[in-house]
Symmetry: C2
Subunit: 98 residues, 2 copies
């Protein structure tokens, strides 16, 4: 994964609201959570929430699946693992940090 895209993912997670969203989604597991449930959990206005979710989706960290009127958001573990992998690689290249 290249530097710019990695930075974009980190930036997406680098906001308390979005990190909170992502945390909820990770805890929710593979079936994810409806946007409305996230809204109830976090108490963020629908419009604001939608913007944040869109940012997470744009980076690939979250994917969406529609089930009738309800839109489920799911954390993409593979993308997340890639991101962590990048950080670990960079962090463990030379010295005894791991």
């Amino acid at each position: 994964m290249e530097l710019v895209k990695t930075a974009q993912k980190l930036e997406a997670l680098g906001n308390p609201t979005r990190l909170g969203i992502f945390k909820l989604l990770v805890q929710a597991g593979k079936k994810g959570l409806p946007v409305g449930d996230i809204q109830k959990s976090l108490g963020v206005p629908a419009s604001t929430l939608s913007h944040h979710i869109a940012k997470l989706v744009n980076t690939g960290l979250v994917v969406q699946r529609r089930e009738s009127r309800t839109l489920f958001c799911v954390a993409d573990y593979v993308v997340m693992q890639d991101l962590i992998g990048y950080l670990v690689d960079k962090c463990c290249v030379k010295d005894s940090c791991c």
Copy 2:
């Protein structure tokens, strides 16, 4: 590590220039790199670079050590490991991502 501070660290790394700086520092190992060397590597104006480094220092991801006129920047592996730990914990709580 709490959510807000985690988000701050992610935000600090979530910028291509700063991620580039951090990457250099990680690769440089325990003795770190002088600010001037980073500047030569990245070709960023001194002032701009200083702002970015300050942001990394503020979050604790980078620490500085003065050696005469030269200021060395060093990546803090423990803080980085904490950050990765937070992400891994959140990512591996329930489902089979690891």
